[in-house]
């Protein structure tokens, strides 16, 4: 075969799939049709390619069991169930969405049960109890300081230290005001 002939065959190699798909212009297709009619290399190239494709198609064909196929179809046409999972994991598989939805449902049920138990058993509120205890403790501390100051004032009063008494008296009143915030029993 001449060099020109080899070049044409090389060109056909690039266009063979468009030729097989009938995706070439009418003129181009006719050009190749005439070339193939007179070129054994290109003619056998077509049959080789078709053989490879046909044989591969046959040998690589696998199938699902009918029952599996029916189950998958049935599942596919069901209404959306996993809306939250769909939103959180748009790329997730059905299994992942199903697992997530199941976990979410279990957590939801457990939370609902906890709320019902809490409402029906009338248990003291732990947080509130602790807060009250802390505030009560602060109140007692301030009261004890006020008592100490009262004793001191009495002692000073006996010694006629007027200025000191007025100052201490003022401090005591301030502390009393402050203690009102804590003493609510």
């Amino acid at each position: 075969m001449s060099n020109d002939g080899k070049m044409i065959c090389k060109e056909f190699e690039k266009e063979i799939y468009l030729y097989l798909d009938n995706d070439l212009s009418t003129d181009r297709r006719e050009y190749w049709r005439q070339h193939i009619a007179s070129c054994k290399t290109c003619d056998s190239l077509i049959s080789d390619v078709e053989t490879v494709l046909d044989q591969t198609r046959i040998e690589l064909t696998e199938d699902l069991l009918d029952a599996k196929f029916d189950k998958i179809v049935e599942h596919a046409v069901q209404k959306k169930r996993f809306k939250i999972a769909e939103w959180l994991f748009p790329q997730g598989t059905v299994k992942e969405k199903y697992a997530f939805s199941l976990k979410l449902a279990v957590v939801g049920v457990l939370a609902a049960i906890a709320v019902v138990i809490s409402l029906t058993t009338n248990q003291p509120n732990t947080v509130k109890t602790i807060s009250n205890e802390l505030l009560d403790w602060e109140g007692k501390k301030v009261t004890s300081q006020i008592n100490e100051l009262k004793n001191t004032i009495n002692l000073i009063h006996e010694d006629n230290w007027d200025k000191q008494i007025i100052m201490l008296d003022q401090r005591m009143k301030n502390l009393e005001k402050e203690s009102d915030k804590f003493l609510f029993n």
Partner: protein, 181 residues
């Protein structure tokens, strides 16, 4: 299945008739499953991908346009679903040689004996193709899409797709026929 019958089934699906979806898909089920199986490398993943494809197909049936072949539309969904999953799992290197017996679920024992050797060769030849070549080759073999459609699906230029096909066929042919000699 005739084009008219297929169109009738599509219309029924659009109207929410769930019973029409199975018969509509049945025509493509082997090719679709084979494509996903070869691409993913194992039955479990292929079944998951098949299911995802059908869910997306059913939910998106109203978006399907008759300007495209239904099979091409379905394979495009399958392709995108598979690519998403493969990207997610970074499995491009995972799709290598797979034991054909592992992939095959049921088979005729007689046919099995005769065809096993050639099947192994073909599967091996396809499995060792670079990923892009395999992607184009499997789409062509399983979906029967034109190369222009494959270019649109894979978002590759037509010449690149043709080049992938050229080299994949060349490699498979060389591997098959050189080993047969």
């Amino acid at each position: 299945m005739s084009a008219t019958h297929e169109q009738t089934l599509i219309e029924k699906c659009r109207n929410g008739e769930t019973a029409a979806f199975g018969p509509l898909i049945k025509n493509y089920r082997k090719q679709l499953f084979s494509y996903l199986l070869r691409l993913s490398g194992n039955r479990e993943d292929a079944e998951d991908l098949f299911q995802e494809t059908l869910i997306k197909g059913w939910r998106g049936i109203n978006k399907y346009s008759e300007l495209q072949k239904f099979s091409s539309w379905l394979f495009t969904i399958a392709h995108n679903t598979a690519m998403d999953k493969l990207r997610k799992r970074n499995k491009e290197t995972m799709i290598t040689e797979t034991d054909p017996d592992e992939l095959r679920h049921t088979s005729d024992p007689h046919k099995e004996l005769i065809g096993k050797e050639i099947r192994i060769k073909i599967q091996k030849a396809v499995d060792i193709l670079p990923f892009k070549q395999k992607e184009v080759f499997l789409l062509r073999v399983n979906s029967g899409m034109s190369f222009k459609e494959i270019a649109l699906t894979t978002k590759e230029p037509l010449n690149t797709v043709l080049s992938h096909m050229h080299y994949s066929v060349k490699k498979i042919k060389r591997l098959l026929w050189s080993e047969n000699e």
